[in-house]
């Protein structure tokens, strides 16, 4: 770790985790996370207002914990990065407001960055600098996309995405049908290990010859699994939970890995990065490894703790923004719940980024108080 590499603090509040991470270049120094997932469990999904309230409670203590963990002084930071989107609007707003206040109070540059690009960039903390271009499969409760990133700070291209449910959402819904609680991913992964993935032939969405090659669909699969379970229940038979979990999971990861490997081959990319909460799934990791090896593709998957939402991934992308001299965001940075994946960061107004927020309220910002 070179002392001249950028030292960046990253804040993530797009869903139910309040994350603050600190990195120097591609080295992880701290990864503090406060989760409100337990509070949401009885609702069977993330409740936005509960998440926002929890972010407010946890924000400053989590920043302070990260600084302590990293053993650095806030004065030495080279920048503050924050997820400005996509995500839950009210939840994002807490992190963005905190990041702006922190950057302003410390006189540091502010970088509003894209949550999805951060999920990709986090792998730099695990496996070193990203190859360019990077092929990435992002799978979580909120997103399922195939992305090609020639430059993670400025050029991220969507190849495909889910047309209905996200992969993680399908896990949650099937877990609910099976009365396994929320979130569904870890428990299905665990039960599937004791089941037979070939026992029930569930459908593979969008895998026909005329279907979009890189798009995903998990809604049909979800309905099909639910029907199968209901039929068993209606017949008074016991539902073989482990076999259902294994067969359902197999259908999801089969499609994900098949399409990701195909995208690598089609685009001539010789490695694949998998990120997002579902990347913690053991069967997805195993099948991806197997198929990548067979295709001569190098697989990069960060450890599970870096796959789920966290502040370190935001700091990692922020550090890359600093290293590549990307233009900082301005103090009017807003949370953008639908920030497109094609915008890895939200540079200041002068740069004229694609979003047309109205700027009738643009004021003279005293340069003195900004990044002094």
């Amino acid at each position: 770790m070179a002392a001249d590499e950028p030292l960046v603090l990253g804040i993530e509040t797009s869903c139910d985790e309040t994350g603050v991470g600190i990195v120097r270049g591609t080295t992880l120094l701290a990864d503090a996370v406060a989760s409100s997932v337990d509070t949401h469990a009885r609702f069977g999904g993330v409740v936005p207002e509960i998440a926002s309230r929890a972010h407010l409670e946890a924000m400053v203590p989590t920043i302070e914990r990260a600084l302590k963990e990293a053993g650095v002084s806030a004065r030495d930071l080279d920048g503050i990065a924050v997820t400005s989107g996509p995500g839950l609007a009210g939840a994002l707003l807490v992190g963005v407001s905190a990041a702006k206040a922190y950057a302003y109070a410390l006189g540091k540059p502010l970088y509003g960055v894209n949550h999805l690009a951060s999920h990709i960039c986090v792998d730099q903390l695990e496996h070193g600098p990203l190859p360019e271009p990077t092929m990435a499969l992002l799978v979580s409760g909120g997103h399922s996309s195939l992305l090609l990133a020639p430059d993670i700070t400025s050029d991220v291209r969507p190849l495909g995405a889910t047309i209905d449910d996200a992969a993680g959402e399908a896990f949650d819904k099937i877990a609910r049908v099976l009365n396994l609680g929320f979130p569904g991913g870890p428990v299905i992964d665990r039960l599937a290990k004791e089941g037979d993935p070939a026992s029930i032939a569930f459908p593979r969405g969008l895998t026909g010859p005329r279907d979009a090659p890189y798009d995903f669909s998990f809604s049909g699969l979800k309905t099909s699994v639910a029907r199968w379970i209901e039929a068993k229940r209606a017949a008074g038979e016991e539902v073989p939970v482990r076999d259902v979990a294994a067969s359902f999971q197999e259908a999801v990861v089969d499609v994900l890995t098949r399409k990701a490997v195909r995208a690598c081959k089609d685009e001539g990319v010789d490695h694949l990065m998998i990120g997002g909460g579902v990347a913690a799934n053991s069967r997805l990791r195993a099948l991806a490894q197997e198929r990548c090896e067979r295709a001569g593709i190098r697989l990069r998957v960060p450890r599970p703790g870096l796959c789920t939402d966290n502040g370190a991934m935001v700091a990692a992308l922020g550090a890359e923004m600093v290293a590549r001299n990307r233009r900082p965001s301005d103090l009017e940075l807003s949370a953008d719940s639908s920030l497109p994946v094609t915008e890895p960061h939200v540079p200041g107004a002068d740069h004229g980024h694609g979003h047309s927020h109205d700027h009738d309220h643009v004021h003279e910002i005293s340069k003195d108080n900004l990044y002094s």
């Binding site: 609702f43 926002s52 407010l56 039929a231 949370a335």
Partner: protein
Amino acid sequence: MDTATPAVTVALHDGTSVIASSGQVDARRHGELLLPAVDRVLAEAGTKLDAVTDVVVGVGPGPYTGLRVGLVTAATFASALSVPVHGLCTLDGLAYAAGLEGLEGPFAVATDARRKEVYWARYEDARTRTGEPAVDRPADIAGALAGLPVVGAGAVLYPDAFPDARAPEHVAAGALAALAAERLAAGQEFLEPRPLYLRRPDAQVPKNYKVVTPQ
């Protein structure tokens, strides 16, 4: 600073008087407006944030997502600068401002809680609240407040319930800061810098699992 109502308002107070202030009414852009307003106020006062010795924030009650913008900004400033952050009830700021405009007690303060409700509290005078802030339908409290002047946008919105509406409509951080300066000088207590939501979060427990098979 206060972002508990549609107003985004910031002021700098030196213990004697307000040096600079800003107020913008835009319920949808608290997040975008607050930091530039802080910057503008400091620039106008010819000083910088690190000169600030105390941060004061309106804790609501407020229905807006924006309420959290002021609170998290204040808490983050306080952490970064290692200075204390003090909470004040937003309604107290409005009452104090009404007092500066010459209103004597008793009176009430009401702000818009949306969903056809108001946040409100009664005051003996501009510095003395009697009872905790509450959230109610205007018609349900009109009788109890009959004959009293009612300060704030909540009164303006419901003239049938509150015929004697008084200024100001929105809270100004200058008044909040002046009230805080008085309390600091007198060694009085403040509220914790935590939001007064007065409502439980909207959280729908999903209905029992719905059968998808056609019957």
